[in-house]
């Protein structure tokens, strides 16, 4: 974890441009878009949201994304493609443990940034957070951390695809595009057609944005149900990743050997 932190802070500009910057730009676009929509339509409520609630929703989406959508499969697939995983066979820790500790190191920084962001937003924009309570905040944080671990596991599987594919970044971007659309990161799921909204709840996507955000905003009825659903998805995806690892490692040929 210490090694990861030192790497992260050496390339501070990159870290900001790659991780934090996009979230702020994305937030800025959504705040501008929704303000424009409410002003031009002259409606006070759209999809059950007032303008303040809609802006609060997107502020919470940014905070949740800081915790959830952090890991990437890039380093992982590079390790496989460039034959670096041979080293893990003699290290006193496994390939998964190494990348999980990197994820934990990254997650610690991201949670700190998310908490700092909430603190600043509470001071600057208190009206958007009138519903906030300590219980809802902790529940939202727990769901976000679980969703973050699910996202890491999903990216771990994408990284493992490097056993079969030359490049995996297309899969990473594809997953991000689908997740942004299906998690309610652009538009709250209440505004989606009912059939689509219901279908999405059979997938893990709403738990990567919409559900933690609604919990942050005070809809705690979803909490225990969401914890169970996320646990199920985490177990399933980790089971799949174990199977893929077993299959992949049989195919592996170390570069230069």
């Amino acid at each position: 974890m210490k090694v990861y932190w030192s790497n992260l802070f050496v390339y501070r500009t990159n870290f900001f441009l790659q991780t934090i910057g996009p979230l702020f730009v994305f937030l800025f676009i959504k705040l501008s878009l929704w303000t424009s929509i409410y002003l031009s339509s002259q409606k006070s409520i759209i999809g059950g949201y007032t303008l303040e609630e809609m802006l609060a929703y997107h502020l919470w989406i940014m905070v949740a994304s800081m915790i959830i959508l952090t890991s990437s499969s890039q380093n992982l697939s590079e390790d496989i493609r460039l034959g670096k995983i041979s080293s893990y066979l003699i290290y006193p820790f496994s390939f998964w443990e190494f990348h999980a500790s990197n994820f934990a190191a990254r997650q610690t920084v991201q949670v700190f940034i998310a908490l700092l962001t909430v603190f600043i937003l509470l001071i600057l924009l208190p009206t958007y957070f009138s519903n906030i309570s300590f219980l809802f905040f902790i529940q939202g944080l727990i769901l976000s951390l679980m969703a973050g671990f699910f996202w890491f596991s999903l990216n771990y599987i994408i990284g493992l695809m490097a056993f079969w594919l030359e490049e995996t970044w297309t899969l990473t971007v594809l997953t991000q595009v689908v997740t942004y659309f299906c998690s309610g990161a652009i538009i709250p799921l209440e505004l989606y057609p009912l059939w689509l909204k219901e279908a999405l709840f059979y997938t893990p996507f709403p738990y990567l944005g919409f559900v933690p955000v609604r919990t942050f905003m005070g809809e705690s009825l979803l909490f225990w149900q969401s914890v169970l659903v996320l646990l199920g998805w985490i177990l399933l995806i980790n089971l799949i990743s174990k199977l893929i690892w077993k299959k992949g490692i049989h195919l592996y040929t170390a570069a230069g050997m």
């Binding site: 390339y11 500009t13 990159n14 870290f15 900001f16 441009l17 790659q18 910057g21 996009p22 730009v25 994305f26 800025f28 676009i29 501008s32 878009l33 303000t35 424009s36 929509i37 031009s40 339509s41 409606k43 759209i46 999809g47 079969w164 594919l165 030359e166 490049e167 297309t170 899969l171 971007v173 594809l174 595009v177 689908v178 942004y180 659309f181 652009i186 538009i187 505004l191 989606y192 057609p193």
Partner: protein
């Protein structure tokens, strides 16, 4: 002049042939690239479609106008993804490893050899989708013959403006230890330009129109096609392209002075 154009055309032909040969070796990647772009295009159009299920207008635009604008931006994006995107991602690597030396030694313009070296054949296929969408929404808007005639030209102008700005920004990589982050900055600017100028507050709109004119990429062509009297943004677009190419000449030269070859 013509001899020069022929020379560069033959070089570019070789680049394309190499990229096609390479992508045919990695067929799954080729296929995934098509699917990835398609998902992005569909999600962009679907998001706007869903929004208009709840409101009749955004700004002064109706659903068809907004979707037409998004289609123009997707057509610009498709050109970028096909012809320059990969080279932008390779550029920081060329600087870090010192492989830029080999490009500088070649008897061809270095900017051309750096930023037009890679073509993504997978993204090329998606021209069918982006132009089908643009034509479909253009028909819905009942565009006249003149609009249809200049539409491809306007899309190419958007492509040129976007990449002129991004080339200038990318030169900052010469002064950085690791320049990959600049590519994320490029993508963030693309995100900002992918929405019409009227959604932004006056101050931001002015900055992103007059100083860093990314909002002209899609808004200027769309506004002109909706109202031929709204020509000033389009003229500004032309001027901005010339301005950024002049700036590029200087920033590239200054960047090369700052460049320390890693391999020597």
């Amino acid at each position: 002049m013509i001899k020069n154009i022929r020379h560069y055309f033959s070089i570019y032909q070789s680049f394309i042939v190499t990229c096609f040969a390479e992508s045919m070796n990695f067929r799954m990647h080729f296929l995934l690239l098509i699917i990835m772009d398609l998902f992005f295009y569909v999600s962009a159009l679907a998001s706007v479609y869903i929004l208009y299920e709840h409101v009749p207008l955004i700004g002064s635009w109706n659903r068809e106008q907004f979707l037409f604008f998004i289609s123009i931006m997707l057509a610009v994006n498709q050109l970028t993804m096909t012809f320059v995107s990969e080279s932008f991602w390779q550029f920081p690597l060329l600087i870090r490893t010192g492989n830029l030396d080999f490009i500088l030694l070649k008897p061809a313009n270095a900017i051309f050899s750096t930023f037009f070296r890679y073509v993504r054949p997978g993204s090329m296929v998606n021209v069918i989708f982006t132009w089908s969408a643009t034509i479909y929404f253009g028909i819905q808007l009942d565009l006249n013959w003149f609009s249809w005639m200049i539409l491809p030209f306007l899309v190419f102008m958007g492509f040129f403006l976007q990449n002129s700005i991004e080339l200038v920004i990318s030169c900052s990589m010469f002064w950085m230890l690791e320049g990959t982050g600049i590519n994320f900055l490029r993508i963030e600017l693309q995100q900002l330009s992918r929405w019409p100028d009227f959604i932004y507050q006056s101050f931001v709109r002015r900055i992103l129109t007059l100083i860093l004119p990314i909002l002209l990429i899609g808004s200027a062509p769309a506004r002109f096609l909706f109202d031929f009297n709204d020509i000033y943004p389009l003229l500004g677009m032309g001027l901005a392209i010339i301005f950024f190419w002049i700036i590029l000449k200087f920033t590239w030269a200054a960047g090369l002075k700052a460049y320390e070859s890693a391999s020597s």
